[in-house]
Amino acid sequence: MYDAPLRKTDVEANEIKISAKDVQVYYGDNHAIKDVSVELQDKTVTAFIGPSGCGKSTFLRCLNRMNDTIDICRVEGLISLDGEDIYDKRVDPVQLRAKVGMVFQKANPFPKSIYDNVAYGPRIHGLAKNKAELDEIVEKALRRGAIWDEVKDRLHAPGTGLSGGQQQRLCIARAVATEPEVLLMDEPCSALDPIATAQVEELIDELRTKYSVVIVTHSMQQAARVSQKTAFFHLGNLVEYGETSQIFTNPVDSRTESYITGRIG
């Protein structure tokens, strides 16, 4: 089977943070997510794996209603956060996104200074009472994003002037600065070197103590290292969902097995 080192995980029954039931997503006529039902636990890292184009990002974007911004996208089914339907008419998606933060597949820092990038979220949510507090939040976020040491001397340099990997870590710092309850990360390490990847994984592990983290990844090793739960998507279907250790050692579905052993992808 798959023989990457498995991290010892404590997967006793955490509370359900997000639950999805019979979710269908259509891009126009393209049925991108089919009948997906899944329950994501609090204080847990859940990895979404699956071949390219299978709908991982699409499903992830349903969880904080980022798909609202795509005109042709239609979401059906029930998704609830802490038992509340997030697609309810009364729900303000902006409030939802403050609770459910997101790191995107492609690094997308604002064309502003590094400091302003991180400070933007806390500013619009009024998390800091004064400049000193804001400075503190920014420093803490940059430290958690594993980029503080590299940028502490040029906080007012443009964020877009950083390298690709640094930009991605800046985006992670920006996302954690608003103290979300759930952090959605779409391939956060695809542009990072092994050292930065290790730092981000450490961060994810640390975030798990407080938040629920969902990470999309193409790296089996990474999924095995950081996650407690794994969901395998294939052609818009959720094929298998369960304990990471179980998925990687003893998958039930043959498609899962072929994918993690590298036979389909």
């Binding site: 911004t69 979220g121 443009p158």
Partner: protein, 453 residues
């Protein structure tokens, strides 16, 4: 196709192995076509530049003389017996003396100068000097005296505006041959001008009045200036700027960022693009119908002109604003929404600042277009209005009839007196300077707002 089998090799259509330095026939062909394309490009640019140079040199050579004007500099004795019969310097009494009271004084002054210098001339009467002097000189002298009544009784040095024939003679437009049929001036006058020119009494100097002055009647081209119609254009541009920019930008932000994609917004979109291509005269008749006939706004007023030009400029601004909003990468919007910014916050904090250079450039180009537009003004009565009076204040600047720079230029070009021809070209120079300045501002703003990171 078939040579792969005929060679019997396993690789069909294998590339022949040749030296890198040997130039194959395909390469030669490709290089030749590339060279040809570059030559076309150079030729196109060369042609454009050639015409630009021709145009500019025509404008400068025809128009620059409008900025110089001929003056006769003589001491004028302000005779109290004529200007203030009661001798009490009462401003009301002084104001009662019309320009007819001043004309003889000026003519005398010129005649005395001629006699003092001992210039031999066939003329023996001060009245004969009239041909040299602009009809507006008396009014200018009168204005000066009314402004400062203490001058009465003194002899003041006065720059008398020369008549347009004399001005034309100094500029080479009028010659002894061309005036044989002219009732206004004789060859003897020109002899006199030659003599006076030698001792410096008659000279050309820079003509500020052309830039700041008001338009004059048909018969006084030497007095005509662009100043009043420049104010007309200025007030129109204020209207356009303060209406078209906010409306245009708000409409584009709504359409681009907030409006749902449906048939209705598609319809609006198509129509905005079409509006940009509508001939400007159509906007003119729309302005006539809507603002003058329906809303009863005053005719020929810069407010109406500005409103009409706003209609014309809006599509330009909307199109360029939408293009620059579209050019902002969607990932920036996602990033803002992802940290919990509202749609409006993401637009105003992130998208709009990034689109700003494009919006400003589009706006200024739209304004420049509006500044040079003549056709719509034709229909709302701004073309043909003789702009001889400055507006009294800001409100009358918007509401009292006025002309506009391009309308004034058209008006001058239409007039019979050839002296107006040079003024039309001069007006073009001023208009182009304005456009140049606006473009420079656009470039500076672009540089300032552009983030190269």
């Amino acid at each position: 196709m078939t040579d792969a089998t005929s060679q019997g090799g396993s690789r069909p259509n294998a590339r022949p192995t040749t030296s890198l330095t040997a130039v194959g026939s395909r390469t030669k062909k490709r290089n030749a076509s590339e060279k040809r394309f570059r030559a076309y490009g150079l030729a196109a640019i060369g042609t454009g530049l050639f015409f630009l140079v021709v145009l500019l040199s025509a404008i400068v050579s025809n128009g620059s003389s409008a900025f110089m004007q001929t003056f006769i500099e003589v001491p004028v004795y302000l005779d109290p017996a004529k200007l203030d019969k009661n001798g009490n310097r009462d401003p009301e009494d002084i104001a009662k003396v019309s320009t007819f009271g001043y004309s003889p004084l000026i003519q005398n002054a010129v005649f005395e100068q001629v006699q003092d210098k001992g210039i031999a001339t066939e003329y023996d009467d001060a009245g004969d000097m009239k041909a040299l002097i602009s009809a507006s000189a008396a009014a200018q002298l009168r204005d000066r005296v009314i402004a400062n009544p203490d001058l009465i009784g003194e002899t003041v040095d006065f720059q008398i505006l020369a008549s347009s024939r004399v001005d034309g003679y100094l500029k080479g437009r009028v010659s002894r041959d061309s005036i044989t049929q002219d009732k206004n001036i004789d060859a003897g006058h020109l002899d006199l001008v030659d003599a006076l020119r030698e001792d410096g009494t008659v000279h050309k100097s820079f003509n500020f009045a052309f830039i700041t002055g008001a338009d004059a009647s048909e018969s006084r081209p030497e007095q005509a200036g662009l100043g009043v119609s420049m104010l007309g254009s200025f007030f129109m541009m204020l209207v356009v700027l303060f209406l078209a920019l906010p409306i245009g930008v708000a409409a584009s932000i709504y359409l681009e960022e907030f409006a749902p994609q449906n048939k209705f917004t598609d319809f609006i979109e198509v129509n905005i693009s079409n509006l940009a291509a509508v001939p400007s005269i159509v906007f003119g008749i729309l302005g006539l119908a809507a603002f003058i006939q329906f809303a009863h706004l005053p005719q020929s007023a810069p407010l109406v002109g500005g409103l009409t030009l706003t209609l014309m400029t809006l599509p330009t601004i909307v199109i360029s604003t939408r293009a620059s909003l579209k050019a902002v990468p969607p990932s920036i919007r996602d990033a803002a929404l992802g940290v919990g910014a509202s749609k409006m916050q993401s637009v105003f904090h992130h998208v709009l600042p990034l689109a700003m250079p494009g919006i400003l450039t589009g706006t200024i180009i739209g304004l420049a277009q509006a500044l040079g537009e003549t056709a719509p003004l034709l229909l709302i009565g701004m073309v043909g209005y003789i702009a001889t009076n400055y507006p009294d204040g800001v409100i009358s600047g918007f509401l009292s009839p006025n002309s506009a720079m391009p309308a004034q230029i058209y008006e001058w070009a239409k007039r019979a007196d050839p002296a107006y021809y040079e003024r039309a070209w001069g007006g073009i120079i001023i208009l182009l300077v304005f456009l140049l300045v606006m473009n420079v501002i656009a470039i500076i703003l672009r540089r300032k707002f552009e983030r190269r990171w």
